[in-house]
Symmetry: C2
Subunit: 234 residues, 2 copies
Protein backbone atom coordinates (compact mmCIF):
# COMPACT_ATOMS: atom_id res chain seq x y z
CA UNK A 1 0.00 0.00 0.00
CA UNK A 2 2.91 2.32 0.48
CA UNK A 3 3.18 2.28 -3.26
CA UNK A 4 -0.20 3.93 -3.50
CA UNK A 5 0.32 7.64 -2.98
CA UNK A 6 -3.08 8.28 -1.47
CA UNK A 7 -2.71 5.66 1.19
CA UNK A 8 0.93 5.89 2.22
CA UNK A 9 2.53 8.87 0.55
CA UNK A 10 6.27 8.52 0.72
CA UNK A 11 6.68 11.72 -1.18
CA UNK A 12 5.37 14.40 1.12
CA UNK A 13 7.96 16.20 3.16
CA UNK A 14 8.17 14.73 6.66
CA UNK A 15 7.17 17.87 8.49
CA UNK A 16 3.97 18.33 6.52
CA UNK A 17 2.12 15.23 7.50
CA UNK A 18 1.25 13.64 10.80
CA UNK A 19 0.73 10.26 9.16
CA UNK A 20 4.34 10.17 8.08
CA UNK A 21 5.67 10.04 11.60
CA UNK A 22 8.19 7.32 11.85
CA UNK A 23 10.54 6.28 14.64
CA UNK A 24 13.88 7.93 15.12
CA UNK A 25 16.93 6.09 13.84
CA UNK A 26 20.01 5.54 15.96
CA UNK A 27 23.13 3.44 15.82
CA UNK A 28 24.81 1.59 18.64
CA UNK A 29 28.29 0.15 18.39
CA UNK A 30 29.59 -2.82 20.32
CA UNK A 31 33.35 -2.50 20.43
CA UNK A 32 35.25 -5.62 21.34
CA UNK A 33 38.85 -6.11 22.21
CA UNK A 34 40.93 -8.74 23.92
CA UNK A 35 42.64 -7.61 27.10
CA UNK A 36 43.85 -9.29 30.27
CA UNK A 37 42.96 -12.66 28.83
CA UNK A 38 39.33 -11.70 28.41
CA UNK A 39 36.95 -10.41 25.79
CA UNK A 40 36.06 -6.85 26.73
CA UNK A 41 33.62 -4.28 25.45
CA UNK A 42 33.72 -0.50 25.61
CA UNK A 43 30.84 1.25 27.37
CA UNK A 44 29.93 4.86 28.01
CA UNK A 45 28.12 6.06 31.08
CA UNK A 46 24.89 7.98 30.49
CA UNK A 47 24.50 11.28 32.30
CA UNK A 48 20.80 12.04 32.12
CA UNK A 49 17.47 10.59 31.21
CA UNK A 50 15.77 7.54 32.65
CA UNK A 51 18.99 5.58 32.33
CA UNK A 52 21.20 8.15 34.07
CA UNK A 53 24.35 6.59 35.52
CA UNK A 54 23.75 3.39 33.55
CA UNK A 55 26.26 2.11 31.05
CA UNK A 56 25.50 1.67 27.38
CA UNK A 57 27.24 1.11 24.08
CA UNK A 58 28.37 4.27 22.34
CA UNK A 59 26.05 5.45 19.63
CA UNK A 60 23.77 8.23 18.59
CA UNK A 61 20.96 9.41 16.41
CA UNK A 62 21.36 9.19 12.66
CA UNK A 63 20.78 12.63 11.12
CA UNK A 64 18.92 13.02 7.86
CA UNK A 65 21.34 12.70 4.98
CA UNK A 66 23.95 10.59 6.71
CA UNK A 67 24.33 6.88 6.10
CA UNK A 68 23.95 4.96 9.37
CA UNK A 69 27.34 3.37 8.95
CA UNK A 70 28.84 6.85 8.68
CA UNK A 71 27.07 7.80 11.88
CA UNK A 72 28.54 4.78 13.58
CA UNK A 73 32.03 5.66 12.41
CA UNK A 74 31.62 9.28 13.43
CA UNK A 75 30.19 8.55 16.87
CA UNK A 76 32.93 6.05 17.46
CA UNK A 77 35.53 8.69 16.76
CA UNK A 78 33.96 11.52 18.74
CA UNK A 79 32.90 9.46 21.73
CA UNK A 80 35.88 7.18 22.04
CA UNK A 81 38.62 8.39 19.71
CA UNK A 82 38.58 5.06 17.93
CA UNK A 83 38.95 5.08 14.16
CA UNK A 84 39.83 2.77 11.28
CA UNK A 85 38.36 -0.35 12.77
CA UNK A 86 36.56 -3.36 11.47
CA UNK A 87 32.88 -2.37 11.54
CA UNK A 88 29.98 -4.58 10.58
CA UNK A 89 26.24 -4.17 10.81
CA UNK A 90 24.54 -6.62 13.16
CA UNK A 91 20.85 -5.93 12.78
CA UNK A 92 18.31 -3.38 13.91
CA UNK A 93 16.42 -3.40 17.15
CA UNK A 94 13.08 -1.69 16.84
CA UNK A 95 10.84 -2.53 19.74
CA UNK A 96 8.87 0.63 20.56
CA UNK A 97 9.56 0.23 24.27
CA UNK A 98 13.30 -0.21 24.06
CA UNK A 99 13.74 3.50 24.75
CA UNK A 100 11.20 4.96 27.17
CA UNK A 101 11.60 8.46 25.75
CA UNK A 102 10.65 7.87 22.19
CA UNK A 103 10.41 5.14 19.63
CA UNK A 104 13.97 4.79 18.43
CA UNK A 105 14.98 2.09 15.99
CA UNK A 106 18.60 1.31 16.57
CA UNK A 107 20.90 -0.25 14.03
CA UNK A 108 23.51 -2.18 15.95
CA UNK A 109 27.08 -2.56 14.73
CA UNK A 110 30.03 -4.36 16.06
CA UNK A 111 33.60 -3.22 15.87
CA UNK A 112 36.87 -4.94 16.65
CA UNK A 113 40.02 -3.24 17.89
CA UNK A 114 43.38 -4.72 18.68
CA UNK A 115 44.02 -2.79 21.85
CA UNK A 116 42.47 -0.33 24.25
CA UNK A 117 45.00 2.35 23.46
CA UNK A 118 42.99 4.25 20.90
CA UNK A 119 40.06 4.83 23.20
CA UNK A 120 41.74 7.25 25.58
CA UNK A 121 40.69 10.15 23.37
CA UNK A 122 37.80 12.54 23.82
CA UNK A 123 36.29 11.35 27.00
CA UNK A 124 35.55 14.81 28.24
CA UNK A 125 31.78 14.47 27.90
CA UNK A 126 31.37 10.88 28.89
CA UNK A 127 32.98 8.36 31.15
CA UNK A 128 34.34 5.45 29.22
CA UNK A 129 35.03 2.01 30.53
CA UNK A 130 36.11 -1.36 29.28
CA UNK A 131 34.13 -4.23 30.77
CA UNK A 132 34.68 -7.98 30.55
CA UNK A 133 31.92 -9.29 28.34
CA UNK A 134 31.14 -12.30 30.50
CA UNK A 135 30.32 -9.95 33.37
CA UNK A 136 28.65 -6.94 31.80
CA UNK A 137 26.52 -4.87 34.16
CA UNK A 138 22.84 -4.27 33.53
CA UNK A 139 22.92 -1.89 30.59
CA UNK A 140 20.64 0.90 29.41
CA UNK A 141 17.97 0.33 26.77
CA UNK A 142 18.06 -3.20 25.33
CA UNK A 143 21.81 -3.16 25.19
CA UNK A 144 22.25 -6.43 27.00
CA UNK A 145 20.32 -8.10 24.19
CA UNK A 146 22.51 -6.31 21.67
CA UNK A 147 25.58 -7.54 23.49
CA UNK A 148 24.37 -11.13 23.37
CA UNK A 149 23.65 -10.86 19.68
CA UNK A 150 27.02 -9.29 18.97
CA UNK A 151 28.85 -12.00 20.86
CA UNK A 152 27.02 -14.69 18.97
CA UNK A 153 27.88 -13.06 15.67
CA UNK A 154 31.52 -12.60 16.66
CA UNK A 155 31.81 -16.26 17.57
CA UNK A 156 30.38 -17.50 14.33
CA UNK A 157 32.33 -15.11 12.13
CA UNK A 158 35.52 -16.12 13.85
CA UNK A 159 34.99 -19.60 12.48
CA UNK A 160 34.38 -18.80 8.84
CA UNK A 161 36.14 -15.48 8.23
CA UNK A 162 39.57 -14.06 8.90
CA UNK A 163 38.38 -11.07 10.95
CA UNK A 164 40.43 -12.21 13.90
CA UNK A 165 43.22 -10.14 12.38
CA UNK A 166 41.52 -7.01 13.68
CA UNK A 167 41.84 -8.21 17.26
CA UNK A 168 45.59 -8.69 17.01
CA UNK A 169 48.55 -6.35 16.70
CA UNK A 170 50.51 -6.46 13.49
CA UNK A 171 52.96 -9.02 14.90
CA UNK A 172 51.94 -11.90 17.10
CA UNK A 173 52.77 -15.47 17.97
CA UNK A 174 50.69 -18.50 17.17
CA UNK A 175 50.08 -18.90 20.88
CA UNK A 176 48.57 -15.44 21.03
CA UNK A 177 46.40 -16.13 18.01
CA UNK A 178 45.18 -19.33 19.55
CA UNK A 179 44.46 -17.57 22.81
CA UNK A 180 42.14 -15.12 21.06
CA UNK A 181 40.17 -18.02 19.67
CA UNK A 182 40.03 -19.77 23.00
CA UNK A 183 38.84 -16.69 24.84
CA UNK A 184 36.08 -15.89 22.40
CA UNK A 185 34.89 -19.39 21.67
CA UNK A 186 35.14 -20.35 25.31
CA UNK A 187 36.83 -23.67 24.76
CA UNK A 188 40.36 -24.99 24.61
CA UNK A 189 41.87 -25.89 21.29
CA UNK A 190 44.50 -28.49 20.68
CA UNK A 191 47.71 -26.63 19.93
CA UNK A 192 49.03 -29.04 17.32
CA UNK A 193 45.78 -29.22 15.39
CA UNK A 194 45.33 -25.47 15.61
CA UNK A 195 48.76 -24.71 14.21
CA UNK A 196 48.41 -27.28 11.48
CA UNK A 197 45.10 -25.84 10.37
CA UNK A 198 46.03 -22.16 10.56
CA UNK A 199 49.37 -22.58 8.82
CA UNK A 200 47.75 -24.58 6.03
CA UNK A 201 45.59 -21.58 5.13
CA UNK A 202 48.63 -19.48 4.19
CA UNK A 203 47.15 -16.43 5.85
CA UNK A 204 50.27 -15.89 7.91
CA UNK A 205 53.79 -14.90 7.02
CA UNK A 206 56.51 -15.85 9.51
CA UNK A 207 58.88 -13.02 10.39
CA UNK A 208 62.57 -13.25 11.12
CA UNK A 209 62.02 -12.20 14.67
CA UNK A 210 60.90 -13.98 17.77
CA UNK A 211 59.16 -13.12 20.97
CA UNK A 212 61.24 -13.79 24.01
CA UNK A 213 60.14 -14.44 27.56
CA UNK A 214 60.58 -16.84 30.42
CA UNK A 215 60.21 -19.70 28.00
CA UNK A 216 61.35 -20.91 24.63
CA UNK A 217 61.28 -18.04 22.07
CA UNK A 218 58.19 -17.96 19.87
CA UNK A 219 58.10 -17.31 16.17
CA UNK A 220 56.42 -14.04 15.24
CA UNK A 221 53.89 -13.92 12.42
CA UNK A 222 52.07 -11.30 10.42
CA UNK A 223 48.83 -11.57 8.46
CA UNK A 224 49.49 -11.54 4.74
CA UNK A 225 46.24 -9.68 4.15
CA UNK A 226 44.42 -7.55 6.68
CA UNK A 227 41.18 -7.40 4.80
CA UNK A 228 37.98 -9.33 5.49
CA UNK A 229 37.63 -12.61 3.63
CA UNK A 230 35.40 -15.57 4.19
CA UNK A 231 37.46 -18.67 4.77
CA UNK A 232 36.95 -21.75 6.91
CA UNK A 233 39.25 -21.07 9.87
CA UNK A 234 38.22 -23.84 12.24
Amino acid sequence: MRRHPVVHPRIVAPSRSKTLRSPLVAVDVVIFTIADGELQALLVQLKGGPFAERWAFPGGLVPVGEAPEATATRELLTQTGIHDVYLEQLRSFGDPRRDPNAHVVSIAYFALVSDKGESQGNSKYTRLGWFPVPRLPSLAYDHNAIAAYALERLRSKLEYTNIVYSLLPSEFTLGELQEVYEIILGRWLDRRNFRKKILSLSLLRPLHRQRRGAHRPAQLYRFTRRTPMTIEML
Copy 2:
Protein backbone atom coordinates in the same frame (compact mmCIF):
# COMPACT_ATOMS: atom_id res chain seq x y z
CA MET B 1 27.73 12.06 23.03
CA ARG B 2 24.15 11.06 22.58
CA ARG B 3 24.27 10.25 26.23
CA HIS B 4 24.85 13.90 27.06
CA PRO B 5 21.50 15.65 27.00
CA VAL B 6 22.83 19.01 25.96
CA VAL B 7 24.57 17.70 22.92
CA HIS B 8 22.22 15.03 21.60
CA PRO B 9 19.00 15.14 23.58
CA ARG B 10 17.11 11.92 23.00
CA ILE B 11 14.41 13.04 25.34
CA VAL B 12 12.78 15.99 23.63
CA ALA B 13 9.67 15.18 21.63
CA PRO B 14 10.52 14.83 17.94
CA SER B 15 8.35 17.71 16.75
CA ARG B 16 9.99 20.20 19.09
CA SER B 17 13.51 20.14 17.82
CA LYS B 18 15.07 20.48 14.42
CA THR B 19 18.25 18.79 15.54
CA LEU B 20 16.36 15.59 16.27
CA ARG B 21 15.44 15.02 12.66
CA SER B 22 16.20 11.52 11.74
CA PRO B 23 15.47 9.48 8.62
CA LEU B 24 12.16 7.75 8.13
CA VAL B 25 12.03 4.05 8.82
CA ALA B 26 10.52 1.59 6.39
CA VAL B 27 10.45 -2.15 5.92
CA ASP B 28 10.73 -4.09 2.70
CA VAL B 29 9.94 -7.76 2.43
CA VAL B 30 11.45 -10.16 -0.07
CA ILE B 31 9.00 -13.04 -0.43
CA PHE B 32 10.36 -16.18 -1.99
CA THR B 33 8.62 -19.25 -3.22
CA ILE B 34 9.39 -22.14 -5.52
CA ALA B 35 7.21 -22.38 -8.60
CA ASP B 36 7.61 -23.78 -12.09
CA GLY B 37 10.98 -25.17 -11.16
CA GLU B 38 12.34 -21.75 -10.29
CA LEU B 39 12.89 -19.52 -7.31
CA GLN B 40 10.43 -16.66 -7.59
CA ALA B 41 9.84 -13.43 -5.68
CA LEU B 42 6.71 -11.39 -5.23
CA LEU B 43 6.78 -7.78 -6.42
CA VAL B 44 4.31 -4.92 -6.39
CA GLN B 45 4.11 -2.27 -9.05
CA LEU B 46 4.44 1.32 -7.87
CA LYS B 47 1.83 3.77 -9.07
CA GLY B 48 3.36 7.17 -8.47
CA GLY B 49 6.54 8.95 -7.53
CA PRO B 50 9.86 8.87 -9.30
CA PHE B 51 9.64 5.09 -9.60
CA ALA B 52 6.13 5.00 -11.05
CA GLU B 53 5.48 1.82 -13.00
CA ARG B 54 8.58 0.20 -11.55
CA TRP B 55 8.40 -2.97 -9.53
CA ALA B 56 9.52 -3.19 -5.92
CA PHE B 57 9.27 -5.45 -2.92
CA PRO B 58 6.20 -4.90 -0.79
CA GLY B 59 6.81 -2.78 2.26
CA GLY B 60 5.93 0.45 3.94
CA LEU B 61 6.80 3.03 6.51
CA VAL B 62 7.07 1.99 10.12
CA PRO B 63 4.73 4.12 12.24
CA VAL B 64 5.77 5.32 15.66
CA GLY B 65 4.87 2.71 18.24
CA GLU B 66 4.96 -0.31 15.98
CA ALA B 67 7.80 -2.80 15.94
CA PRO B 68 9.31 -3.01 12.44
CA GLU B 69 8.68 -6.73 12.31
CA ALA B 70 5.01 -6.06 13.01
CA THR B 71 4.98 -3.56 10.17
CA ALA B 72 6.45 -6.17 7.88
CA THR B 73 3.82 -8.71 8.89
CA ARG B 74 1.03 -6.20 8.51
CA GLU B 75 2.13 -4.88 5.13
CA LEU B 76 2.55 -8.40 3.91
CA LEU B 77 -1.03 -9.16 4.83
CA THR B 78 -2.61 -5.99 3.48
CA GLN B 79 -0.58 -5.80 0.30
CA THR B 80 -0.47 -9.44 -0.63
CA GLY B 81 -2.83 -11.37 1.62
CA ILE B 82 0.06 -13.48 2.84
CA HIS B 83 0.15 -14.37 6.52
CA ASP B 84 1.78 -16.84 8.89
CA VAL B 85 5.03 -17.15 7.03
CA TYR B 86 8.63 -17.57 7.97
CA LEU B 87 9.95 -14.03 8.36
CA GLU B 88 13.51 -13.05 9.17
CA GLN B 89 15.32 -9.75 9.32
CA LEU B 90 18.08 -9.36 6.76
CA ARG B 91 19.66 -6.01 7.55
CA SER B 92 18.94 -2.35 7.08
CA PHE B 93 19.78 -0.28 4.05
CA GLY B 94 20.31 3.33 4.91
CA ASP B 95 22.05 5.16 2.12
CA PRO B 96 20.54 8.68 2.02
CA ARG B 97 20.15 8.47 -1.75
CA ARG B 98 18.36 5.16 -1.94
CA ASP B 99 15.02 6.99 -2.05
CA PRO B 100 15.09 10.29 -3.97
CA ASN B 101 12.11 11.66 -2.04
CA ALA B 102 13.47 11.50 1.45
CA HIS B 103 16.05 9.77 3.55
CA VAL B 104 14.39 6.48 4.35
CA VAL B 105 16.23 3.76 6.22
CA SER B 106 14.73 0.48 5.23
CA ILE B 107 14.90 -2.68 7.26
CA ALA B 108 14.81 -5.58 4.83
CA TYR B 109 13.16 -8.89 5.68
CA PHE B 110 12.82 -12.09 3.82
CA ALA B 111 9.84 -14.38 3.91
CA LEU B 112 9.28 -17.87 2.58
CA VAL B 113 5.98 -19.29 1.39
CA SER B 114 5.18 -22.73 0.10
CA ASP B 115 2.95 -21.64 -2.77
CA LYS B 116 1.65 -18.61 -4.57
CA GLY B 117 -1.92 -19.30 -3.58
CA GLU B 118 -2.04 -17.03 -0.56
CA SER B 119 -1.04 -13.95 -2.50
CA GLN B 120 -4.22 -13.58 -4.54
CA GLY B 121 -5.73 -11.45 -1.76
CA ASN B 122 -6.08 -7.70 -1.62
CA SER B 123 -4.53 -6.66 -4.85
CA LYS B 124 -7.01 -3.90 -5.44
CA TYR B 125 -4.55 -1.10 -4.82
CA THR B 126 -1.49 -2.60 -6.36
CA ARG B 127 -0.57 -4.95 -9.13
CA LEU B 128 1.19 -7.98 -7.84
CA GLY B 129 3.47 -10.23 -9.76
CA TRP B 130 5.71 -13.21 -9.18
CA PHE B 131 9.06 -12.96 -10.95
CA PRO B 132 11.80 -15.55 -11.39
CA VAL B 133 14.66 -14.39 -9.20
CA PRO B 134 17.36 -15.10 -11.77
CA ARG B 135 15.65 -12.65 -14.13
CA LEU B 136 14.34 -9.85 -11.95
CA PRO B 137 13.66 -6.58 -13.75
CA SER B 138 15.33 -3.34 -12.73
CA LEU B 139 13.63 -2.56 -9.45
CA ALA B 140 12.78 0.67 -7.66
CA TYR B 141 15.00 2.10 -4.92
CA ASP B 142 17.95 -0.17 -4.10
CA HIS B 143 15.77 -3.24 -4.26
CA ASN B 144 18.03 -5.13 -6.63
CA ALA B 145 20.73 -4.94 -3.99
CA ILE B 146 18.26 -6.12 -1.38
CA ALA B 147 17.32 -9.02 -3.63
CA ALA B 148 20.93 -10.06 -4.01
CA TYR B 149 21.46 -9.93 -0.28
CA ALA B 150 18.30 -11.91 0.39
CA LEU B 151 19.28 -14.61 -2.05
CA GLU B 152 22.69 -14.94 -0.49
CA ARG B 153 21.15 -15.27 2.95
CA LEU B 154 18.61 -17.79 1.75
CA ARG B 155 21.33 -19.94 0.22
CA SER B 156 23.44 -19.99 3.32
CA LYS B 157 20.56 -20.59 5.72
CA LEU B 158 19.40 -23.48 3.60
CA GLU B 159 22.65 -25.21 4.41
CA TYR B 160 22.66 -24.86 8.17
CA THR B 161 19.00 -24.53 9.18
CA ASN B 162 15.82 -26.43 8.47
CA ILE B 163 13.89 -23.45 7.06
CA VAL B 164 13.38 -25.29 3.79
CA TYR B 165 10.22 -26.64 5.40
CA SER B 166 8.55 -23.30 4.79
CA LEU B 167 9.03 -23.64 1.05
CA LEU B 168 7.29 -27.01 0.91
CA PRO B 169 3.69 -28.15 1.36
CA SER B 170 2.92 -30.33 4.33
CA GLU B 171 3.47 -33.52 2.33
CA PHE B 172 6.19 -33.95 -0.22
CA THR B 173 8.55 -36.48 -1.72
CA LEU B 174 12.29 -36.62 -1.27
CA GLY B 175 12.61 -35.73 -4.93
CA GLU B 176 10.66 -32.54 -4.39
CA LEU B 177 12.75 -31.66 -1.36
CA GLN B 178 15.93 -32.23 -3.31
CA GLU B 179 14.62 -30.13 -6.18
CA VAL B 180 14.13 -27.15 -3.85
CA TYR B 181 17.74 -27.39 -2.81
CA GLU B 182 18.96 -27.73 -6.35
CA ILE B 183 16.98 -24.74 -7.55
CA ILE B 184 18.13 -22.43 -4.80
CA LEU B 185 21.73 -23.55 -4.56
CA GLY B 186 22.05 -23.72 -8.31
CA ARG B 187 23.82 -27.04 -8.45
CA TRP B 188 22.86 -30.68 -8.82
CA LEU B 189 23.01 -32.94 -5.83
CA ASP B 190 23.64 -36.65 -5.86
CA ARG B 191 20.35 -38.34 -5.09
CA ARG B 192 21.76 -41.19 -3.03
CA ASN B 193 23.94 -38.97 -0.91
CA PHE B 194 21.17 -36.44 -0.46
CA ARG B 195 18.68 -39.03 0.78
CA LYS B 196 21.23 -40.63 3.06
CA LYS B 197 22.06 -37.29 4.65
CA ILE B 198 18.53 -35.95 5.00
CA LEU B 199 17.09 -39.17 6.38
CA SER B 200 19.89 -39.43 8.91
CA LEU B 201 18.78 -36.14 10.47
CA SER B 202 15.40 -37.57 11.48
CA LEU B 203 13.64 -34.39 10.49
CA LEU B 204 11.21 -36.29 8.30
CA ARG B 205 8.45 -38.75 9.06
CA PRO B 206 7.45 -41.10 6.24
CA LEU B 207 3.69 -41.29 5.67
CA HIS B 208 1.70 -44.30 4.64
CA ARG B 209 0.82 -42.69 1.35
CA GLN B 210 2.65 -42.30 -1.89
CA ARG B 211 2.67 -39.87 -4.75
CA ARG B 212 1.72 -41.47 -8.03
CA GLY B 213 2.59 -40.38 -11.53
CA ALA B 214 4.02 -41.67 -14.76
CA HIS B 215 6.77 -43.35 -12.81
CA ARG B 216 7.34 -45.47 -9.78
CA PRO B 217 5.31 -44.20 -6.79
CA ALA B 218 7.24 -41.97 -4.43
CA GLN B 219 7.13 -42.14 -0.66
CA LEU B 220 5.52 -39.09 0.90
CA TYR B 221 7.12 -37.41 3.90
CA ARG B 222 6.22 -34.78 6.43
CA PHE B 223 8.49 -32.62 8.57
CA THR B 224 8.42 -33.73 12.18
CA ARG B 225 8.84 -30.14 13.33
CA ARG B 226 7.92 -27.07 11.34
CA THR B 227 9.83 -24.66 13.49
CA PRO B 228 13.19 -23.03 12.73
CA MET B 229 16.21 -24.88 14.05
CA THR B 230 19.86 -24.62 13.21
CA ILE B 231 21.13 -27.95 11.96
CA GLU B 232 23.74 -28.92 9.39
CA MET B 233 21.61 -29.91 6.42
CA LEU B 234 24.24 -30.25 3.71
